[in-house]
């Protein structure tokens, strides 16, 4: 087959310039700054709180999306109702809608003078400018992942499996819990991990609704931006490396899930 040199050349050159060299520059910056200094930076109360907040909120949002995403995928594949096609297409809206737009739109809705915000205010529930706002924004950006990974798997389920389960006397809920759910688990976990990875690093949709109060609603990416605006490259690099490590750890988990489920189920 021709084109080995050309395709390898383009791939490796672009990969190096766009991805590898910039990430290498971050790691170099970290190496010059030193491990002890990085640890000191990350361990500062404000930085630690921001990293922990980013991870915790991303985890909560991804868990919500895991449950909601599986239900949504099931409804879209199995049920027929008016407007199903529109709903199906709308699942991708959070992918298509720019994060800054999502951020100001959610803020307009959930701020105390917004449509939903004023309703919540009446029962004393403050959403915008609290951690609830961060949760909401992260649910928004992670919404499509689980649905889109689980949907094809539900489509491929052989109806005979459910029929066999029913003939053997299993109730519907028993079949759903013990036959269907295990089949969906690997794909659902992959979608969950993707949503989590996306949410941990999310910036645009969060900063408008978060309020950005240090120690309480200040996310890690914002802290990087603040350090950069003060030309404090060392601190920005240290936080960046901490976030990069978090991402790598999650990437590793995604791959392990996929290897594990391929062994058990045969496909993802």
């Amino acid at each position: 087959m021709p084109g080995l040199g050309l395709s390898a050349g383009i791939t490796l050159t672009m990969l190096s310039i766009v991805v590898l060299l910039p990430i290498g520059a971050l790691l170099m910056q970290g190496a010059q700054f030193g491990l002890a200094n990085i640890w000191d930076t990350v361990h500062r109360e404000r930085v630690w709180a921001a990293l922990f907040l980013s991870f915790r909120m991303a985890l909560f949002a991804a868990l919500f999306n895991l449950v909601f995403g599986v239900l949504l995928a099931w409804v879209l594949v199995r049920y027929r109702f008016p407007g199903r096609r529109i709903i199906d297409a709308a699942v991708d809206l959070p992918f298509a809608l720019p994060t800054a737009v999502a951020g100001i739109a959610l803020t307009a809705l959930y701020a105390p003078n917004g449509v939903f915000g004023s309703l919540a205010q009446q029962i004393g529930w403050k959403i915008a400018y609290t951690q609830w706002g961060i949760f909401l924004a992260l649910v928004f950006v992670g919404l499509p992942f689980v649905t889109r990974t689980v949907q094809p798997v539900i489509e491929e389920i052989d109806p005979e499996v459910e029929e066999a389960s029913a003939t053997l006397g299993a109730s519907r809920s028993h079949t759903l819990r013990h036959v269907i759910l295990p089949m969906l688990t690997p794909a659902a976990l992959t979608g969950f991990a993707l949503a989590l990875a996306r949410a941990v690093g999310e910036y645009g949709s969060v900063i408008f609704i978060a309020g950005n109060i240090p120690l309480r609603t200040e996310i890690a990416p914002l802290l990087i931006v603040i350090q950069l605006e003060e030309f404090n490259y060392d601190a920005a690099g240290a936080i960046g490396i901490a976030m990069l490590l978090m991402s790598f750890a999650m990437l590793l988990v995604i791959n392990l899930i996929q290897i594990f489920s391929r062994k058990r189920i045969g496909h993802v």
Binding site: T11, V19, L97, P98, I104, G240, S247, M250
Partner: protein, 298 residues
């Protein structure tokens, strides 16, 4: 979820088709509840923000919204975003085709590792991506210092925004093409080669027709993301009004200046672009499903 009807003797034989339920389906009540739950969830989470973009933009009427898009800075932001997208899109298409060709037409060690590297940008925070580019090409770095000295600044200039945009959209085209090309195998290309076609001719007449819809699909995803990228661009652009402020950056600046109508008008225009890509993408899924990666066929 009630399963009472399943266990009632004779339920399946009963002459009332309205109450009969296949044992492989949920009860009508459960179905209705699930549909209502998910549809209302999507309405609150997705449709409401979409609608509010337009109602906020038109809060002072059409004239005010359109006027806010007419000034020089807004025009410059729109032009810049379209330019950046027009540069990033073909770059990603070329990379995606080259990477997919390399990965699906040849066998070599470390292929899985290469795919992981290509996917890497999806798991790096856009802000960290921007930070990496600033550290590599910023004025006080080795490369950046040399470039600035030769009047070729990358950071706080358009090349940096392009680089940041290509970074965050890097895997889109490759990820669409690799599964499609893997599924199609190498037999057709090999046949064409045996018949004496040159490499370019094989690509042009055999491979390209097979992958064109998947290529278009990946390019659409890339376009949608490129137009709206905020985090990575916010770090590298320097936010110079009229020069390096893209549409999303302009939205942020207007919003922070409490110019709500102007911010939401710009947002509505950007949403319009996003809806257009979504529409084209859905049309592709409906009309050319068999030419797309398996997870888009439904």
């Amino acid at each position: 979820m009630s399963d009472a009807s399943l266990h009632r003797p004779g339920a399946a034989r009963s002459a009332r088709p309205a109450s009969y339920r296949k044992p492989t389906e949920e009860t009508p009540a459960a179905r209705t509840a699930l549909i209502l739950l998910t549809v209302s969830g999507l309405a609150i989470l997705v449709f409401a923000p979409l609608i509010v973009v337009f109602t906020e933009a038109l809060a002072d009427g059409w004239a005010a919204a359109i006027e806010s898009l007419g000034n020089r800075d807004a025009q410059s932001a729109i032009r810049l975003t379209l330019t950046i997208t027009a540069i990033a899109m073909p770059l990603n298409a070329v990379f995606g085709i080259a990477a997919a060709w390399l990965i699906t037409k040849f066998d070599f060690r470390g292929k899985a590792f290469l795919i992981t590297l290509i996917d890497l940008p999806f798991s790096v925070s856009p802000v960290v991506a921007g930070l990496c580019i600033v550290l590599l090409f910023g004025a006080n770095s080795l490369i950046g210092g040399w470039l600035v000295a030769h009047d070729l600044p990358i950071v706080f200039a358009i090349p940096g925004i392009v680089l940041a945009t290509v970074f965050v959209t890097f895997p889109f085209v490759a990820r669409e093409l690799i599964p499609v090309m893997t599924e199609q195998g190498r037999a057709e290309e090999e046949a064409a080669l045996t018949l004496g076609a040159s490499g370019w001719r094989v690509f042009h007449t055999v491979t390209l027709p097979n992958i064109r819809w998947a290529l278009l699909y990946g390019t659409l995803l890339c376009t949608a993301r490129a137009m709206g990228e905020f985090g990575a661009v916010a770090v590298v652009s320097g936010k110079i009004r009229g020069q390096t402020a893209t549409m999303p950056i302009t939205i942020e600046m207007l919003y922070n200046e409490y110019l709500s109508v102007a911010a939401f008008s710009m947002a509505a225009l950007l949403t319009g672009f996003a809806l257009l890509t979504l529409l084209l993408k859905t049309a592709l899924e409906l009309r050319h499903a068999d030419a797309l990666a398996a997870n888009h066929r439904h």
